[in-house]
């Protein structure tokens, strides 16, 4: 059981690390979904 918990932790760390790297790379290469350069902002857009 401890091995399962350890596997969970290691797996989560790996998944988290990979996703973080992917996130960072993609954030730097893609444009933001947020509105920019407005003066008065909407609560949101549908």
């Amino acid at each position: 059981m401890i091995r399962i918990v350890a596997a969970c932790v290691i797996g989560a760390a790996l998944a988290g690390g990979l996703a973080f790297v992917g996130t960072t790379v993609a954030t730097e290469t893609s444009s933001s979904a947020e509105p920019v350069n407005q003066s008065l902002y909407n609560y949101g857009d549908r």
Binding site: M1, C8, A12, T23, A26, A33, S39
Partner: protein
Amino acid sequence: MAVPRLNAARAERLLPWAVGAGAGVLALGPGLGPGFMLSYDMAAVPEPPLSQVTLGGGGGFPRAVPSDAVLGALGTVLPGDAAQALLLMAVFTLAGAGAGRLLPGGWAGPAGSTAARAAAAAFYVWNPFIAERLLLGQWAMLLGYAGLPWLVPAVGRVAAAARPAGVRDAARLVPALLPAAAGGFSAMVLSALAGLPAAVLGARGAGRALRAGAVLAGVVAALSLPWLVPALGSGARTDPAAVELFAARADTPFGAVGSLLSLGGIWNAHAVPQWYGLPVLAACRLTLSAAGVAGWVWLVRRGGAPGFGAGLSAASAAGLGVALAGTTEPGREVLSGLIGLWAGFGPLRDGQLYVAPLALLQAAGVGAAALWACRAAADSEARVGGADAVTPPGGRDGEGHGDTGSRGRPRTPARSDRAAAPSRSRGLRTGRGRRSERPAASAGERVGALLGALLALAPIALLPGLLWGAAGRLDPVDYPDEWRRVQRLVDEDPRLGRVLVLPWSAYRGLDWRADGRDLVVLDPATKLFDRRAVWNDDLRVGDGTRVRLAEGEDPLADRVGRLHAADLGIRRYTASLGELGIRYILLERRAAEPLSGADAAAALGPLAGDNRFSSDGTGPAAVHDGARLLLLEVPDRHVDPPNDELTGLEGTAWFVTVGTIIWSLGGSGSSLVSMRTGPPRGAVSRKENPT
């Protein structure tokens, strides 16, 4: 000092807490360090005020009561950013722990059970609902979401108890409702939606159902008084036209229905995580949600959700129905009609909110799927290697159910159908709770547990956009010194008077991020001071090429809006503001300076003139004139000091609510939910009907 050994039972109990807390760390990431996470409605401020206004005084619809007061109370002992981080971590941790606790004990071996609880916890804290609501800044509502897995089974136990629900049961429900009580309006509405069906459907007979429902309604009302009393006296209105603006929408390739079923579908296109709509990820998430529903059906049919299975199913269906109603023309007409009839139906306009019970159902179902996997793997192994090799002491499916509570206490089999539950625990615990020697986990058990572990990781892998501050969107920022200076200037003034927040629009794009991107947030000035802020609570929503407006709820804001439209001239404008009790005008320069023409007139009123933002003696005088903020003071002779203190009724409401909490904690111990529940429903039935 001896370190407690991490035995299987302890790991099974603690892992969901760890999963919740770990998910919180992964999701908030840098936000747990210094600085404030600001996003749409989440406008945390330094030294958050704890004043009569944050407690509900001053009029206006109390949307932030008592959540801002809770933040203010924490702010008295912690820095404002730490208080915010603590509350957000509480959301994840409580949600994860509660979801993991929903599953029955003893349906698999220790490894399988632990993995199943981890899977349920992970799904509940890492799904599109929590991601989108977090990005929309609705942390107070998420407190209610975190409380749902504690509330629903607690209500089920009260409803199914041997004796009809009474006052003592109310004391047991209060702790489960505390997170929602701290969250306020939306959190409580959500809790009522999830709890009432469990109360009614979990009881035997109409009379008991009514009593259980009444007890829950009474507790919800008692804990809602701090915002309910000001709300009833606020004269607030809700714009029925807003139904269309805030209806759920398709944010995946699978339409509104598919989006809602996979717990997405929020109305705001800017509140979705990065890569959320990628077809592969969306398809996998929908599949996981479907697996959750299937797992839930499997669990309920085998009695794995005693007392609350039918209730949670009904709440999920009702919530999904409300959410779907906003996506069809007839449904929108019905909702608009209801809101027009009574403003209290206003919360129904944000339909996606109500898929929260479905998230809980799916989370429990995903955990159940892990339990099922353990069983299937063990059965498969039995077929290959012979029953004796894999059947745990105590028998196989259908031979008994030694259900073990989440705290390791044995339970009496609750219902006859639970006797058919896939128990693996009889050999692990004796009927009186004495621990017998644990057999080593079988190969099947290990396979099932591994599958459960994969299910626990799947939500994170399928929604990577929530990682590390939602891919940077929740990166913390610090307030410029000027903001803190203005806060001190106003708070140190002992004279009564409100603060008008300009430009006359609620949301700002602040350039405080290191990367230069604007962060969109409710103007923090609305929460910065210990006195009433008056701001434009009309909600602008972009819909295609148009910007549409949902009228706000604050009557005072409505009066200020009319002043702006009346073109009064600076003298009369200033005097009129003073008559409304406004002493200060705070103007954010970066939002105001680009405005021109009609936009400027609407957003700044007479302050939009050529000599705007400067005092020439005829209007308000500048007491702070900085690069970012301009603070103007209305001449004292014009200011009619307002009374924004709590009324006697509002004070009494707080007294009742706090008294109820103290009484319940005294009666039920300090845990979030009392475990001293009555005997399970089925067991009682046997006592009453020995035949």
